[in-house]
Symmetry: C3
Subunit: 656 residues, 3 copies
């Protein structure tokens, strides 16, 4: 395999006279890809129909001549002013009922038919113009769907689309009323035209209503993306269709969008994300302020490897301080290199830095690039060069693909919507729950695959985790029955039907031959009132009152006498949100039963198995001796004494 | 007297085939009442004029046949979609100017004439149909007025109603201008048509303006309720008219609404309310997370005993975890029983559990019932059964009525509005102030009556407390002059005229033969800068600079030399918001002077005198020995060793 | 010079029969000025065109007869209801898109042409009627521009005005697109009519766009004020035109408005401002709760002395508790006197108390006056009397003008807008930064002048501070080159061009003969991760990576090896936001080099040099011995043992 590096470039921001020199410097640095064009609509079509693609052709030619492959973005994340003025109702409307205006980006409503048509029109024009250009190797659809919370819009367009979506799904108002339980509080409708959007209600709307709206909104993203992908495929044969997803973004189903892509990619900003979207406390954030969370990137690498059947990139890699988090520190020396290598350790094909040169103007002027605004090399430049040279030496020695991991975790977007709609306790958040499990597996030195809840294969995993799953699919139940490994389920898993109702036989609603268990009652807990289970730890935030059936065995009991962990065969159920120590104890025991090799890693050190090799990386501020994990010999890359920001690679055989 | 138990039931949520079995199980459990129908408008009138009352008749018949008495709710808290679509301007508008949409409940504007008419129409239809049904023993008007902050609406309907209300009150714009002091900031109007609603102003609106709007809004609730009560009385002779109020809800005057009811009732959710609307700190909330605040229920029991002249119920009693607070823990074993008994200890006629069976669908699917969604018995079921059997044994031995309490506290809704409008210090909240006094009296083992500020009788009370009263009524001043007991006034009492101005002679504005005292200045204090008064404690949040007249005596002086407590005869004035210890010290001294018997109770233990008996209940987590209070002999119910969640009853003679 | 006292008076609030007595008491107290009329529009013109100025004439006559000079306010801060109803689009619109309604004050949009015309009409009518009245000595334009955040309005009127403003500035859409960098995110416009206001955008708007909108909005305030000033000057010869500014109000450029005034004044509420707009922590706020921040008043005295070329007043001086802060404590005894003297110590001509008598009605009924509502003397009355008598004794002995201070700090309103638009780190606030420096200078006993960034003279200052300046003016760069004193620059100074872009040669962008230095990178820091520089302290919130040129010397280096303080000749640059100790150490060293005499003052004690005298004042709660500073002899006012709330004045010679 050929692991590659790229960069995001905006020829329209710079004098054309500078392009060739830029391209030459990119190539010399060891970059092979350049993503361009994704915000350039106002330059590609300054007025309706007055296409100006010449400059873009010259830019692609210039990059191509320098040996770079171009990823060409469709510019639909930034419709120009003249277009918005033509149809102002294409603007999204917030949950507060206010129009979200032109003046930044992502100012469109996914459900607006008129804008969908425009999006197809510009995509088609670009695909026809550049689809067979030899310099174009791939396309990026739009940019960062949902960024700035743009999946949900409460517009007339959304209402109209939602009505039609519901009519297709339910066929009759009565069917909808029954499915939603609209008899409660006299919410029944007599006609689909009576459907309202679930915002600005006096108190909470019906969760079934909101859930369907979330499904509809996700489908609108899928539709929007697929419309572009179809056009590109028709006119740009052999090129990959890619979208760049974001971190901790759950508003639409990335598996659904990913199914229409050749390659999933994501935009990895470790320092910004730590500040901006981590549940960890201040001490953790302080500790990793210049390194990023040791598990956040890995989680998304594993996630986006799953969404398009294995192929994935980092489309935007933080190269220095960013501009958008509450605080924007400089990365510790070496971290830009570390982040790049971590992506490859998880199987990335390409890591592309954002951006080539810091723009001195407009919204992102304080966002670092590989170059400073005056074209001198910024701190990240040297680290990218180091990765390029290390890749040249090491790439061929590594396997092409990372291979199957030790453990699988089910990740399910509708579950995220469901518990956002009905947290029941303030702290209940699906991502946080799944990520808590993920982090503990990483602390045990295990490698993880993330898998979807629909029709997954559980074959070959020593351990499968299914926390907080909203509703079972038949396929998943069947897969559990067939699974040879250990399966750890709960809390809250299977607690609803697809209609957002409590299952008739009570949760978790599995056939009794798999798990004979009823959840009789649940409670949510203040952070200061956890329920103790073992010496190590107990349940926080959420706890269930389990009633095991005859075939099930109670493995752990809470201090107040309520069964806490129940098992039947290879299926184990967790009746609460476990504190970290309890996760590690329970999951560790099951992993041990499955014969998985575990390590006890400090907070900043992480391992990742990739084919026949193991990567070790150090987010921490202390040097760590890999020999204490059983590593021996000189690593292919790095040293056994793993310094802060250090990366080491060795063979599985030498990794203890 | 016959103390009874009931339950809230929704026949429209369940197959008709299940109704008879449900009714039989209710009766077997010992329940005698079932409240039904209050959200069923869409089933009672699926389209305009197309009444479908048959199913309701069958439901009432079924319950009646099982021996249950039905409380029939008017369904006006949930107008159906077709009605809202007919007149969308019936929807309320929030203070932020946004329409509060259909999709949950309470989506109507009290001041909308059209909706008032509709509310009367459906009430009349139901009253005619079921008014004389032998199974119907009572009616509930609407449901939980003001729940989800629905008293105030800033709609065109409200503006128009407010204009008319003001015109009736003031007769001329000049009179209004003078009363409000509109010369200040050129706010004068030339015509009632110029009146605006007091929201979205650039900075705070005139407090007199806001105060009149609050009075108007409260009057609209009274009007709405009375319209239904009048219709029911005309068509359902001999049945009680009831409304179910909420906890810590002060947006309308419950005395005014209660005057049009036969019975006040309230919906008691001890765990939800502790999480959701308590001023106590985290440690208190942690300590009582599974028990509820030891004084919150008692306060409302005492309050709603006052609002309809003594007759009151608990219409909805929490039976397990609820779904709407930030955290929703399970009640400690025994608490559902304790809460039920505490209501009877304060004179409740009926305690009705919410709800019979947990609904697996819609907004309240996570709200426990006496039954689980699969009809098995939930935890609360057994506790309700225990109460039923204990009642059977004990009821006849108890007095019919609780009798007069030791102490009276004046509770005045307009005062709550006034200090919400003009807190002057961030922490100043009328409920919190009154409740602070109430809690201290309870900690001293005293029983309390709550009385209104208008025309109360103070006869027979050893001690009367009047904290934070906005404005004097002549009747109350007269009653103080005639009072034989001790009267404790302040802080902030009598500090305004009815027009929301400072009295000409400065607060507290009492005749000098009652209390010769001027408040020269007030200040509000950061929580970290209380003013010390005695070793026990001082003033927090609010402090007054008192100038006692010749006939008044300074009892306590603050450390900085300012008189803190001043007395004249049996009238004592408190010049600040006292910390708990100071309340207990001052109120305790006055209570002692009045010959009241006091106890020193720990945080979780409370007493309540009911006729010739005393109840002891234990919200705490430790067993408490009632003998330490002087209790002797075997209680009628429970033991001297009062366990957590325990209830004991003994005669006054045996209670020390 | 004749230092004078005044008071704010509202004849329209009181019966005419009381006016003469009020005037006599004012004169007897020693007051010489009365400000009146600024909210009285509804009384001056009850209906359109129906002027009623007679009562105002009688009021002015009455005050004049008692020997008082009248400051007459234009009533434009409170347009009456009939006027708003005539043109409702004069109301401002908030950033949230909602109209800010009538019902309080300041309900107008500065950019509304119709209201500007009305404002001129009423000003002209008043100026013609009273411009030459012998009792009128000065005019106040409007009242407290921007109070309640009223500078910015997002109305159609604002949009239309902004378009025209941009068209004048840029002449062509292309020029605007280039200046703003609108190519970024396809924000380019094709016509000025496409310009939108920068609110409610999906994510942040272009900072250049927002910056121009802020400039436009500031210009609208200037235009509004100048229109009144011009009319007054034309019709009221010899009278001063004054506006009363507020504390920590930065939304418009006070230097620009001040240029059109004869006298700047401000409204000084030490206790309210401490609670309401201080960055200090709880302990500081607790400590000074009854005294006010020891530096906040001084800062604004120094600021407003600068905005109108030296002439300034305190137009409203807090006389007791106010009504508008989160907590409103009573001032410690003596503080009203101290605040008055502190104003004179900084060169005030007049200190005017707000207000004469506490109004018992409307919004400010809880705001103290010199009199209580019943006309008895409130606590502030006696302190004002003491100031009057002290002035009588001391005034002549003091110099007329305070003279040049030791140190100058540049204060620049556009910089405040810039960093509000682009803080980059959550805590970055321009006022806070400047005020941090100011406070440290005061702690060192230095007297400070505040100077503007445009065309300032730096002559005669030992030390000049220029922290956080958005963009250089040529004049300021030239002044630095000519400056003999020490110049301390940074952090973030000169980091942008006027177009809000990063300078081509990177910040700080000074000619290399002044300072050869490049800022290669910046980072923002969590409050818990400061960067250590010296033992005393380091950088918080903001840190720069400095690359000094050949001629520059690194004076201090951060613990991580990055240059922290760099100097070239008399110019020193600070590469971060210094903690207090580091400011004192660096600025102290430079002040020492400049030969300035410094003291080490405790938190509550402050000095101010005024001509040939030095004032010492004590905000603290402990007595302070001025002899420890080297004071000797008996002060002209006060004692060497400076008690809490104490004021002392001595000659420079005797001040050590
Ligand atoms: Zn991005
Ligand atoms: Zn309820
Ligand atoms: Zn003011």
């Amino acid at each position: 395999m050929n692991r590659t590096l790229g960069v995001c470039y905006y020829p329209e921001h710079w004098p054309e006279t500078q392009w060739a020199e830029d391209a030459a410097r990119m190539a010399k640095l060891g970059l092979t890809h350049a993503r361009i064009g994704e915000f350039a609509w106002s330059r590609l079509e300054p007025k309706r129909g007055a296409y100006d693609f010449d400059w873009l052709k010259r830019a692609i030619d210039t990059l191509h001549r320098a040996g770079l492959k171009v990823v060409l973005g469709t510019p639909t994340a930034t419709p120009p002013k003249w277009l918005v003025d033509e149809m102002p109702d294409m603007l999204p409307i917030g949950a507060d009922g206010m129009v979200r205006k032109f003046g930044s980006r992502r100012h469109y409503d996914f459900s607006h038919e008129g804008y969908l048509k425009e999006s197809k029109r510009i995509t088609l024009a670009l695909a026809k113009a550049f689809g067979e250009h030899p310099g174009v190797c791939a396309w990026q659809t739009d940019n960062e769907y949902d960024c700035h919370n743009t999946t949900l819009s409460y517009s007339p367009a959304a209402r109209s689309g939602f009505k039609a979506w519901l009519q297709r799904k339910y066929q009759s108002p009565d069917a909808l009323n029954r499915a939603w339980g609209n008899v409660f509080w006299s919410m029944e409708i007599g006609d689909f035209d009576e459907i309202e959007l679930p915002n600005l209600t006096v108190t909470e709307a019906n969760p079934s209503h909101v859930m369907d709206f979330r499904r509809f909104a996700s489908d609108m993203v899928v539709r929007f993306n697929k419309a572009q992908a179809d056009i590109i495929r028709a006119h740009s044969p052999g090129r990959d269709v890619i979208h760049n997803f974001m971190g901790r973004t759950l508003a639409f189903d990335h598996f659904d969008v990913g199914a229409d892509l050749d390659v999933s990619s994501w935009d990895s900003y470790p320092l910004g994300f730590l500040e901006d979207r981590s549940d960890q406390g201040d001490e953790w954030k302080r500790q990793f302020a210049r390194a990023g969370d040791p598990d956040f990137q890995a989680f998304h690498h594993d996630l986006y490897r799953a969404t398009s059947q294995g192929r994935w990139w980092v489309m935007e890699q933080q190269p220095g301080p960013v501009n958008w988090a509450p605080h924007n520190p400089a990365p510790r020396d070496g971290m830009v290199r570390l982040w790049s290598w971590e992506a490859f350790a998880h199987g990335a094909e390409t890591v592309s830095y954002f951006r080539w040169r810091q723009a001195p103007f407009a919204q992102e002027q304080m966002h670092a690039g590989l170059l400073r605004p005056d074209s001198t090399e910024a701190e990240g430049f040297g680290e990218a060069a180091q990765v390029a040279s290390e890749l040249a030496a090491l790439d061929a020695a590594l396997d092409a693909l990372p291979g199957k991991a030790d453990v699988a975790i089910v990740m399910d977007y509708p579950s995220a919507w469901a518990w956002e709609i009905q947290p029941q306790g303030r702290e209940f958040d699906y991502f946080r729950l799944v990520f808590d499990f993920y982090r503990c597996l990483r602390q045990l030195g295990l490698s993880v695959d993330i898998i979807p809840a629909s029709a997954p294969s559980l074959d070959g995993y020593g351990l499968v985790l299914i926390p907080g799953l909203f509703a079972w699919s038949d396929d998943l139940v069947m897969a559990i029955r067939d699974c040879d490994g250990q399966v750890l389920i709960g809390p809250r898993t299977g607690s609803k039907t697809a209609d957002f109702a409590i299952p008739a036989s009570l949760p978790p609603g599995l056939p009794s031959d798999i798990l004979a268990l009823r959840v009789n009652r649940i409670e949510t807990l203040r952070a200061d009132t956890p329920v103790a289970v073992t010496q190590d730890g107990g349940f926080q935030f959420w706890r269930e009152f389990l009633e095991p059936g005859e075939d099930a065995e109670t493995l752990l009991t809470a201090d107040d006498g309520v069964p806490a962990v129940v098992a039947q065969g290879n299926v184990t159920y967790l009746g609460g949100w476990p504190e970290q120590a309890l996760i590690k104890s329970v999951a560790g025991q099951l992993a041990g039963r499955a014969g998985l090799v575990m390590k006890n890693l400090p907070d900043g050190v992480r391992l990742r198995r990739h084919g026949h090799h193991v990567f070790a990386i150090n987010y921490g501020a202390e040097t760590f001796d890999l020999a204490t994990l059983g590593w021996k010999g000189q690593p292919l890359l790095g040293d056994l004494m793993l310094e802060p920001s250090g990366v080491a690679v060795t063979s599985v055989a030498d990794a203890g």
